[in-house]
């Protein structure tokens, strides 16, 4: 237990977290501090580019582990399955209607790449290694949850219209799979794999050295956006929902832990799979939901994902998952 607390304390004082808190605070006091949209998008491209490439290089270094395929499979299953758990929980714990509950559930099956990056950086500071291909697992987990959410609506929604549309949404699956962040992450991963350590040496001082600093800026921005969302959607955040936003990542993390143990991932890898399962999407899934489930209220799912679960994972969740993985796994 001691370690959890000291880890959490150390984590809470890292610049990454502090800049997120600065963003939150600035938004709460209504400061006009803001990061241009183009800059935020570019920072996000940088992070995907760097994390994908480094993952690919790491796989090319260590060879393709026998567990790679199993991990990808586990990611697929987790992403498909978690929304069902989340949906059940939401319907019992909160007063959300079917459509809103399904939309929120979809977010929790998918993943947040920044949470993943933050976990990587905690691992690093603890001197822990992890399987490089978990970056690919992250990419694989982005989309399936969306299909689960649509299936839930089709199955449980009274409104035939919504159900129809959810299924009939032309081209949506294609769009989800070819989503910019998936393509960039997977593409950079493959390129990293192909160019290996020699390629890494070429661009190391772009994607390794400044990485943490860029992450700080990005988290400042996420704090600003999350803070503005929380402020304007505070009235939606009933206790039940907030509780769900903290409970669900724990459940996800446990599921991730079980999967990682079955596969036999390293401690570091276990933490990352737990983090992926625990995290909720805030880029790809919201966009898909606006197209497929326009009736769902974006204030609810965005605030849950970005305002509650993201900060929880960032501050307390990741150290907790690390403690669990170190105590029981590895």
């Amino acid at each position: 237990m001691e370690t959890i607390f000291s880890l959490a304390a150390e984590n809470l004082l890292s610049p990454i977290i502090l800049f997120f808190v600065l963003g939150l605070g600035a938004a709460f006091v209504r400061s006009d501090l803001s990061v241009p949209e183009a800059a935020a998008k570019t920072l996000s491209i940088y992070l995907l580019f760097a994390i994908g490439f480094k993952g690919g290089v790491s796989v090319s270094n260590h060879g393709v582990d026998s567990t790679l395929l199993l991990s990808v499979l586990a990611g697929l299953i987790l992403s498909f399955a978690i929304p069902f758990v989340a949906f059940g929980l939401l319907r019992t714990m909160t007063r959300l209607g079917t459509i809103d509950a399904a939309a929120v559930a979809g977010h929790y099956g998918s993943i947040s790449i920044v949470t993943f990056v933050a976990a990587t950086s905690v691992l690093q500071s603890q001197g822990l290694d992890s399987e490089g291909y978990l970056v690919a697992v992250a990419a694989v987990m982005e989309a399936p949850a969306i299909l689960s959410a649509l299936w839930l609506v089709a199955k449980f929604s009274g409104s035939k219209n919504a159900a129809e549309n959810a299924q009939g949404t032309k081209g949506l699956v294609r769009e989800i799979l070819l989503n910019g962040s998936i393509v960039l992450l997977v593409g950079s991963f493959v390129i990293g794999f192909l160019s290996g350590p020699k390629g890494l040496a070429d661009i190391e001082s772009f994607i390794v050295a400044p990485f943490k600093g860029v992450l700080c800026l990005f988290l400042l921005d996420m704090g600003l956006v999350a803070g503005r969302g929380l402020r304007s959607s505070a009235h939606h955040m009933r206790p039940g929902l907030i509780l769900f936003g903290v409970l669900m990542p724990l459940i996800g993390a446990v599921a991730g832990f079980v999967a990682a143990s079955l596969i036999g991932l390293s401690v570091g890898g276990t933490v990352l799979l737990m983090t992926l399962s625990a995290s909720a999407s805030y880029i790809a899934v919201p966009a898909a939901m606006r197209v497929a489930l326009p009736e769902a209220n974006p204030s609810i799912y965005l605030t849950m994902s970005l305002g509650i679960t993201f900060p929880f994972n960032l501050t307390l969740g990741i150290p907790l998952y690390l403690s669990i993985a170190q105590a029981f796994g590895g």
Binding site: S34, V35, P36, E37, A40, K41, S44, N165, D221, L224, V225, R228, S232, S233, Y282, I283, A284, P286, A287, A288, M289, R290, V291, P294, E295, N297, P298, S299, L302
Partner: protein, 103 residues
Amino acid sequence: MEMKDAKRVEIIIEAPMENRLTDVLDEAGVTGYTILPVMGGSGRSGRWSREGQVSIAGGMVAIICIIRPDRLEGLLEAAFSVVERHIGVVTVTDCSVLRAERF
């Protein structure tokens, strides 16, 4: 200058629906339009802003379409089929255009 009557249709729609709308317009034979960026706004679903956003989920775009009056109905029906379930605003204004042969 010689000018002809036309209609100026302005559709403010969620960014994730942009391609669906322009595809439908293309199908309906409406191939002339211009897309303006939108920074923020307010509506029944509250206030929003693009500042610092990474996802396109929360944004909107404005599509401007100058069209001959007799083709308006087709455009509106096409647009409506996409906008129907979604938030968004469709307005039509009378206008006159230079070089009317282009429309």
